[in-house]
Every structure is written in C-alpha cells, then in structure tokens.
Symmetry: D2
Subunit: 372 residues, 4 copies
C-alpha cells in the first residue's frame, strides 16, 4: 500500500465549495431524509472519511506516583467480591468522552488486591492480561490452574477462561490490567458469566501447570499438538524476558544482528503453538533501550500503550514531549508520530491492538528514515 | 466456546449490592480519580461488560418506496463532482446517535447518478461494494478497468483502489453501496486520496478485464498466481448468481444435498485466489427461499444487512415482525434473533461484517434447533 | 535459495582422491560394515548427493500415432472388468528400469473403453485425473456423481473416491490418465479397495452435480463452506478453458497484462475452495502459444508431462529437439532444460508434481533471462 | 478417510482370473507395447497398487555395541577432509537393495570425528540433523554460528546451510546423523556445494547465537518476525528435553493431563516461528516411558526410526520382538504394526518422515483401541 500520509491535504475546503445551495426545495429534501432515517454523505465526508486517521483519543501520560496511592486508597474504601468483581481503576483517555478507554480498542487499569482478599472467578469473551509492575504474593487462577504473579511477569487470561485472584500475604499488591473492552463494547461482541465466589484452587506453586507443559524452549508436548487461538502459557516470567533482552544487547556488542534497531532490544510475547500473538486482539512486547538511544520516529494505525518498567526517558508524542519514569504509562493513538529516548537504560512494557488491523489488512506503518 | 446466552441473568442486581457506601472519603477518592483521568470499573461493569451483546443499533427496515424517490430528488438538487464526491444517501440506524451508520461497523447508502454525469475518481482505505437493485447504463472504473453495472450485479471497489462512475444514458440510475466506514472511523484506520476529476477510461465494455481474466470457473490465470487480500473480480454478474441458485434448488428436487437448509439456496461471493471472502471486513451472499420456507431463527455476533431483490416475505427481528418487498432493506444488529419467511419466491442480497469477528475469534452463532 | 546450478562442478574427482588406501585392515573394516548392514558415505557421496539433480528418468516423447492403435487393439484382445480393472496402458520411461513410470512420481497412461463396456468401481489413495484427447460418450461416476467425458475436458478422481466408467456409445473411446502411482509405490502410501462391479449410477447428464454446485465463477455454495484438500469439481470443461485462453490473448492484444509471457496464455486448474492445486500431489495446467512463440528455456525441480492437444511445435528437451503434433506426449525430468516453440497455434495440456516440492520447500526454478 | 486396512483382502486372486488368454495376437500386442515403451496396467496392478502399503524396507535393529566400534575403527583407517567430506557410516535396511537407506525417505548414520579433526564445510539441499548419543567436545558451525554438541542434544543443519564440524579434544566423538537423502535422491531434488575446507569460526561458546536469540520460552525477537521454513534454533539442549519430560510425568502424578498416553511422556522438537516441525521433511521427538509401560500398538504411513538413549525395553515390530538397550536403533517401515515396552525407565529419541505425508494428505494412522 503506497504510503501517502505525508502529502495529506485537507479536503474540507474543496468539499465546502460543493455543498448545494440552500433553497426551500433542499430543506424539504433534507427533512425527507430525516423522516426516513437517512443522512447524505456529502455533508459528512470530511469528518467520516478523513485524509488520514484523526483519532478522538489524545496522547496522554498517567503518572504512577498518582495511580498507585489512589489504588491503595480504593483498597481501604471499596470492597471486592461478587458484584464488585475487581478493584480495578480504568485509565480514561480525555478524548474518549468520559469512558474508561485509552483508545477505541483498549482498556488499561491499575488493579489492587488487599491482604488475604479473593477476587471471585468469572469469565468473559474479552481478552485480558496482567503485567506486574512490582510486588508479589498474588496467584491468579486461570481455568483452575494457579499462576503466581511476581514483578515483571506478563500473565494471560484469554477470552472465556474462568479466572480469579487471591492475595496470600499481609500486604496489598497492585498490577496493571489490559483488555479489549472498548473494542468488544463498541463492536457488540461481549459475553460474561459468573463463576465460583472463591477461587477454585488455593495452591501456591511457583510455576503453573501451563508453564511446566509449555515453557521448555523449542519443545512442544505431544499432548498439545492442536493449535490454539490463544497462547496456552499462563505466565511469561521476568527472568526469561530479562535474559532475552540481555542476550540481544550482548550479541549486538559482539557484532551480530539481534536487535530491532541499534541499541534497541525487543521481544514479543507469543503463542508457542503458532509463533503468533498471544491473543487475537492484543499484541504484547517488551523493549530495552541502551542509555542515549532513541527509537526512530514512527506512525502506526492502531493504539500503543507503554509502561516504564525501569529507567527514565523522554517521549515525543505528536507535538509534545514528556519525561517518564518507573510505572508511568503513556498512550499513542492511531497515526500519532512518536519516539522514545532513553536517559539511562530504559525498560518498557508495551501492548497494542495491531493484530486486529493486520488481520483485516488495515495496518500501515511509517518509520522515519533516520533515527536521531 | 460453550453457548450460554440462553441462561443469561442480569448482573446489575448483584453488582448494585456491592457498591461502596457513599461517604465523604469515597467522594474524595472519586474526585481523585476524576482529576487523574481514572474511572473505576465497579461503577461501570454492568454496562461495559454485559452478559450478552446489548447493541445500541436497533433492528430497522428502510423502505425502497421511500428511498428511491428521495434519491431521485437529490439528483435534481445536489451536484456531483470533486468535493461532493458522491450523491450517496446513508441509512442511519436510529440507535446510532445521529450517524449514518447501520451498525458500529457498516455503512449502507443509496447512490444516484444522473444522465451523463461522472462521479470523479478517488480512493480510500475503506472497503466498498455496490449492489444494483435495478437499472443499467453506468460503468464504474476501478483502477482503470471499466466495469459495467447492471441489475443484480455485485461489484467491488476494495480499499485503496481508485474508482469513479459515469452514466452513459439519458436516464438516472440508483444502486446501493456498502462500506465499512463506521468501523474505519471508530478504529481510526481511514485514509483518503483524490484522483482524476473524470474517470480515466470512458470505454463501455460488456465485461471488465478482471472478469475476462478471473471468471472462468475452476481456472486461474498463470499471470495471477499471487494471492490477494481482496478479490480480483470487479463484477459478479446476476446471470451467474441466478443460475447457481436455480441449480441448488434443482439438485434439492433431485434428492441431493445442495441447499443450506431445506428450500433455502444460498451462495457466497468469494475471492477466487483463496476461496474466502471478497474483502477482509465484508462478507456478501445471496439467498433464495422457496415460497413458504422460513429460515431457522438465529443469533449471530455482528451485523447483517439484507435487501429484498425480488419477492415478498415476513421478517422477524427480535420481537417485531415486518412485511418486506422489492428493494426494502433491513438490518439485524449483533445477537438479535431473526428469521425470514418467504411468501412467494424470495431473493435476498445480504452482507455482513462477520469476517471481522471470525478473524478475531469473536464469532458466535446460535441457530435454533428447529425451523418453524 | 541462491541458485547455483550453473557453476556446478563435478565432485567425483575431488572425492576419488580422498578414498582411503586399500589395505587388509580396510577390507576387514568394510567386511564388518557389510555384516552389520552398514555402508560408508565416503564411497557413495558423488552418486547419492550430486551437485544438481541427475535423474534416471530421461526426456522422452510418446507418439499418439503409435499409442492409439495399440490401445484400440488392446480393446479387441483384453477384457475389462473386476480384476482387470482398467484397460490402461502405462507410458514407461526408458530410464525407469522397466516400470510404467514416466518419472519417480508420476504415471501416465492411455485408457480405452469399448462400446457399452463398464470399468467397475474401485477406490485408491492414489490421486488420479483424466484428460480427454478426443471423443465423447463415456461417463465416469465419481462417488456416485456421473460426469460426462468429452474432448478437451479435464476430470478428477482424487484419492479415496470410488470411481468407475461406462461407455454409452457404439464406438470405443480413449483418453489419458495421470496418477501419482510411482510416488505412492515408492513411498509406501498406497491403499486400494474394490467397489461395485457396475457403476452405481448409469445416468448421462450433461453436467455433474459437482459442476452444478461449484462452477459458477466467484460463487461458493453456502452448503460447501468447509475447505477440502481436493477440488470438489469433477470436470473442467473445454469450453471454459478455451474461452479463458482466448481472453488472455485478446487482453494482450489490447495492451493489458494477462499472459504469462509474451504470446503465451496459460491457466491452472484449481480447487475453488482454496484457489490452490486440484489435488495435493498433482498440478494441471493448459497452455496456448501463438504461432512462432517459444517459451523461455527453464529448468525445474520435479517432472512435467505435456500432451499436444492441437497444433504443432518443436520441443527442446535437454540436448535433443523433437517435432510434436496432436496427441504426442513428452516428459521433462527434474532439472532438464526445456523450451517449447509453436509452429502454428499450439495448445498443450500439462501436468506435473510441483506441489509436492513446493510443500516441502524443495522447489527450485531457473528461467533463462531471455526468451529466444 | 475411513480406515479399512484391517479387512484387506488380496486382490491378486481376482486379478489373475482376469488376465487375457495367451494368444499369438496378444503376444504381438505386448511386443508392440514394448517397442513403444508401454506397459499394461492389468499385468501390474496387484504389485503397483496394493490393498495396503507393502514396503520393501523391513523392520530392523542396529546394535550400538556393533556400530560404535566400527565407527572408531573407521577413525583409524579413513581420512576426513575435502572429498571424503564426512566419516559417516550409513545404516542400510536389508530390504532396500544395497543402498544405505533405512527406508525410501530417510538416511541414518553414525558419524565419527577424531581428536582435533575438522570436517570441512559444505551445503546441500538435503535436510540434516544430529543427535548426540554420548560424548562432547565437538562444535558444528552452521552458517557461521558455532554450536556445541553434547550428550542428548538435538542439532539442526537444515537444507542449504553451510556446515562443518571440528573436534576440540584429545578424544574422538561419535553421534548419529539423520537426513532425507533417499527422498532427495529418488525424487531428484538434490543440490550440493562445497564450502570452506576449514570451519569458518573455531570459537567454542557454550551457546550458539541461534539459541541466545531464540531459546527464551514464549519470547520471539522483534528482529526475527519473519517466519522461516526451518527452525532457526541450532541446538535443542538435553537439559530442556529432560526437564520437559520430567514435568509431564510429575503433572501426571498430580492428576493432570500432560502425557500422550498413561506413563508415556513425549515432546516434539519444533520451529518456534510456527510451532511446526523443525524441517519440512523430518519430524523429531523424544519419548520417556515409565517402567512397565507399553505404547498402544499402532500402524502409520511413513517410516519411524528410534534410538534408545537410556534404559532398556522390548520392541514389537510386525511379527518379531527385540530387546533393545543404550544406543540401539530400530526402524519401523510404513504400515508395520509396532509397540514399545519399557523394562526400566526408557528414553527414546525418535525421528520420522510424517511431515511429508501430512502435507500431501497421505497420512494415515491406526492406533489399537487398548494399550496392553
């Protein structure tokens, strides 16, 4: 697909010159349209079919220093249990009209679970993951398989899997959730079902059964030869992510191609049955930038959300620049130009909705020729 | 995926009982949320994550007897040309908040082109088709290939193909357009580009080059071995559609399986390079019901739109029933139960957004066990 | 895969210099190998792992003027019926050691059926097709579906489908068969089962049920949405093939890309459920060359077999050149250079085993830069 | 595909009764066939198209106690170097007519490399792997990436990758090789090219670059998003294989499904870019049986080869039974019934050609209803 966004010219001007003259006959015609639930294209074209995506969502940064205290305070005041299924606080993009949407497709939240609390089991067709910004001591039970949650881990609860959480410690814990709630809501695809009011298994193993079956590199169990839409892995452990990134940078040091751009190591979390994305609507990745490195500015169809895991950096989002540090989250709406620059070594968790657009042949990416 | 929609119970009741007590501390917490662009899930769950899809779009019927005169009248009053790109009048679902959307994904319009007029060339990433309810004499030029438009034909202008139309006759012509404009708009994927102010080729061949290359059953040109996301066929002719449906009913008469259910012949328009849908976001089909036959009531995730091509019937849409005849169009929102009954032989053009949901593993269908 | 065949040098010379010295100890070692069913690689490498394919099959031409009289004579002397399942006479490549193989993968035969004879039903895992060089009046019954056989038609009996033939006329008829018998035999994949001693349906319809369901261009029956490994089409009719080729040459005349190379129209017979080959092991195509046109010389991994349907030409096969006319068949073994030149308009039926090698990532093609 | 092998009846009897009467006319016809390189099907059918596969390859066991001393002795007498590319001794199935084939598709050999020797670099289109029965100290250099070879490791050199080996120790080392040489030879697909006479990198890292990029479970480098036909992993380490099998048996002990049948743990080596087989023609697996466990008797289209890595057991191969221990290798030809019973814990390396037949829709498996 030819990439023509750069010479985009506004078509409203041309269009306005073509509006029909305002006459009594035209008004009568328009009244007829309204009576019959019709709307002419020629009054709408500029907004409905822009020259390039013109998202309502805006670039935005949420600060961890604000999020976490509010989540902890919610722990004091708000119960968790059947009905109040989760103590999750959604990030609301100011452009999205008062909805807890970071974009038209994605939801992100900070979730808190107090000491010895249980969030009851339910399931929904919406796909969900958790990323553990810090802490430990909670297990999430996914279709009966207890999965430990610890700092830096990426955990899956794909659509229609029963899941609940319980905190085995005397401290509360917070983490972030990502889901495709806005997509499901706007596309009318959502189903929901209540499950057990307690989790179905309170065991606290170090490794879930899913990991013991599936996390041996290059090996696939013969009992699991049927490909699945969702990854069968319940948890992607920080140790593995960290080691993979470390190896990429070492290989780069040794003179071998391994990084995605100079000084920028990155991995994608994948479904081992296919090598593809972990869930059909959500892509998740982890990036590590060497100090001083900046990513090539790019625009992409779809929404990206980042959370700083460690380190500090500067983010260009459209015309603005933000300084970000541990736990800060920022959203890049569709076709907004962005670049990330590391001040010290910068570790970033990243998720997006690109699989939706790739599967529908609607993906476009423009990467500027030269990194700064 | 287990199909549990039938025992859906409302969760608002359970949920309401769990709302935290309204205290000054809670109000302060909520004020903090608002300041930081946060929204708690526990006040939103019932709406955001319903037990089953609860679409804003409503079942609706647009009458051809009203649409066509308004389109003709627009032909008198509204110019067509650069800026006023198309004399297309969109069908606006009353539930969609004043937008010309039949659903969150799909756009349908009636388009009119007057004697000897030209609608100028442009292209957009939105996928489009036309279905010719009646008439002839217009050619649409798709990436330089002139394609005749005649009654009963189904024509493609997939995303990012330049296209314009011209009417070679002394009569105006109307047809219907289908696009994925609402999906592109809400998902921020749309690109648009102006082309020639005239069509690039005013030839009026009976068959487009695309048909001459691709419409020989079971044969593929060696010059076209590369699979394409969109069908390379510009026009699916009524003669072929009619013959395929006739053959299915004859085979059924002869005792062989050929129809999709008793008395219900149906074909899908497909991409010959893959056997799959014509475009990534839109499925198109044609149905023929014998007199007296009713389709098994069903619910599906996603939106279906039908237009009566010939014959008369009764349509159950949720709790309402409508009598429909030539040219009438009706929309079935996500998960709304529907069934169509033929009074005399009923021919129906049908398009939907199901490929979106199938590719994302979000499709669900429930067909009632017994047709009436 | 880098294409390095051109600078192939023989490695026997290098190798021979490396053979170990013939000593009593070595002889004892070799005797030990023999006792234990072992063979050293170093005495075999040059033959076993050549620099480029060195097929045992040789380029060969079978003359229709010889084949058809012998087939007719067999009709006088050899019964057809259970046990003598088919009056088929296989083409034996002189290089294949007395087997009726045209190559290590493919079988071709001329089959004859006398007036009012029936070849009984059976099925086998070997994939089969027929191409009708001339004549008419026989129906083949494939899994109960009677399929007319007429001049120029290409007909399928994919693996494990019951099939039998019957001749409804007072004249005998001959046609050619293609199967993957050598591949199945050498790879030990063959299964066989007897069926009815008569065909199960003696009806003589003009079009099989498979054609009535599947041969409407761009349309797929909703009763057939499940993809199949084999094409569901029983017969690809000459009228369609002829028209497709005619259209390609006309489009070329009109200045549009449609042919595979200048003056060379070609179609592939495909499975409409996938757009891919008709059967997993066999590709079938039809070519038409304008008078005077020569195909670019090429080499390919795998075997190609051609039959002249109409016209006359010259075929270069390796170092030899042959004049060919109506009904003549010629085989191109793996990696043998070949080119075909038309004297008058030349129509060629063509089948090969390339799908095997494409699926196994073993395909290589080298086309010389310039057609003569 | 219906599985009818059990009621296979011989068709030779029926067939023989149908042979035409031996007359002078028939002899003349047959002489005509011979002159024209033709062979009638009716004299060949029973052999060519058997009721079920009737392989020439026979079930066979090669004893490690015989193989290894012969390989070591070859090390004394036979040089390795350019021309004598490898000191590899092929296992020759007694049914395969004096070829070093274990079956029509697969080659297996024991390879020996003496102290401080180098086997020079070359490449070929044949796919190859090595499995290290015991020992260590050799590195194989695959397209420039040095890969350590140690006991229990499974190593890949897919088609057309340059590779050589060097032994860094004062002891010789042996391992087994598996290739698709017979398939390539009989199908005429083989290409070969000499490379460096020394290996291109004598470094001896513990882990190859391929492992450092690709062996982090569930993670894919962003620099490697393009799917590849062959696995990018150079070595599958024994530690991972052992741990995966241990975990499967522990999960079974804990009451969860993890094994392929009761007491039978098994993993497949896979390509992480697709989750599929490591190379297009060869599947590799590792099995662990608890003491006393026997696998359900089965028949499969295609050839399987096993090597006992540790433990002892009894193998039923067709009508015969063999006792096997460390290093012993046995081949199961197409459609031969087999079962393996463990005496003590039995670890088995296993490779086969099933991907060939699965891709060509020729695979069939029959597993007997009950394990003993």
């Amino acid at each position: 697909m030819t990439d023509t966004w750069e010479d985009v010219n506004d078509h409203s001007e041309v269009e306005n010159s073509m509006q029909p003259e305002d006459t009594p006959e035209l008004r009568e015609l328009y009244a007829g349209f309204e009576r019959e639930n019709l709307i002419p294209l020629w009054t709408q074209l500029d907004d409905l079919m822009p020259m390039a995506p013109n998202p309502k969502a805006v670039p935005w940064v949420w600060r961890w220093s604000k999020l976490q205290p509010l989540a902890e305070r919610a722990g004091d005041l708000v119960p968790v249990g059947r009905g109040g299924e989760r103590r999750a606080i959604g990030l609301a993009n100011p452009g999205m009209g008062g909805r807890a949407y970071i974009s038209p497709t994605l939801w992100a939240a900070i979730q808190q679970l107090g000491p010895h609390e249980t969030a009851p089991e339910h399931r929904h067709s919406q796909n969900a993951f958790r990323f553990v910004t810090s802490g430990e001591g909670v297990w999430t039970v996914v279709n009966g398989d207890p999965v430990r949650m610890s700092r830096g881990d990426f955990l899956l609860t794909p659509g229609w899997n029963f899941h609940g959480h319980h905190n085995e410690t005397d401290q509360s814990m917070t983490w972030i959730d990502g889901l495709d709630i806005p997509f499901a809501y706007q596309m009318d695809t959502g189903f929901f079902e209540f499950g057990s009011e307690r989790v179905t298994d309170y065991a606290t193993p170090n490794f879930s059964r899913s990991e013991r079956l599936w996390c041996h590199p290059g090996l696939r169990p013969l009992s699991g030869l049927h490909n699945t839409v969702n990854s069968p892995i319940g948890a992607y452990r920080w140790e593995n992510t960290d080691r993979a990134l470390t190896d990429q940078l070492l290989l780069e040091d040794e003179g071998h191609p391994a990084t995605v751009e100079q000084g920028h190591a990155a991995v994608r979390y994948v479904n081992p049955t296919t090598g593809g994305d972990v869930m059909p609507t959500i892509r998740a990745q982890f990036h590590r930038l060497r100090p001083g490195v900046a990513t090539a500015p790019r625009r992409e169809v779809g929404t990206s959300m980042f959370q700083v895991f460690e380190g500090e950096g500067l983010v260009e989002l459209g015309d603005a620049e933000y300084h970000v540090g541990h736990g800060d989250m920022f959203v890049v709406p569709s076709w907004v130009r962005y670049s990330i620059k590391a001040e010290n070594q910068l570790d970033l968790f990243h998720f997006n909705d690109h699989p939706i657009f790739e599967k529908l042949a609607l993906a476009r990416t423009h990467i500027e020729g030269e990194a700064r």
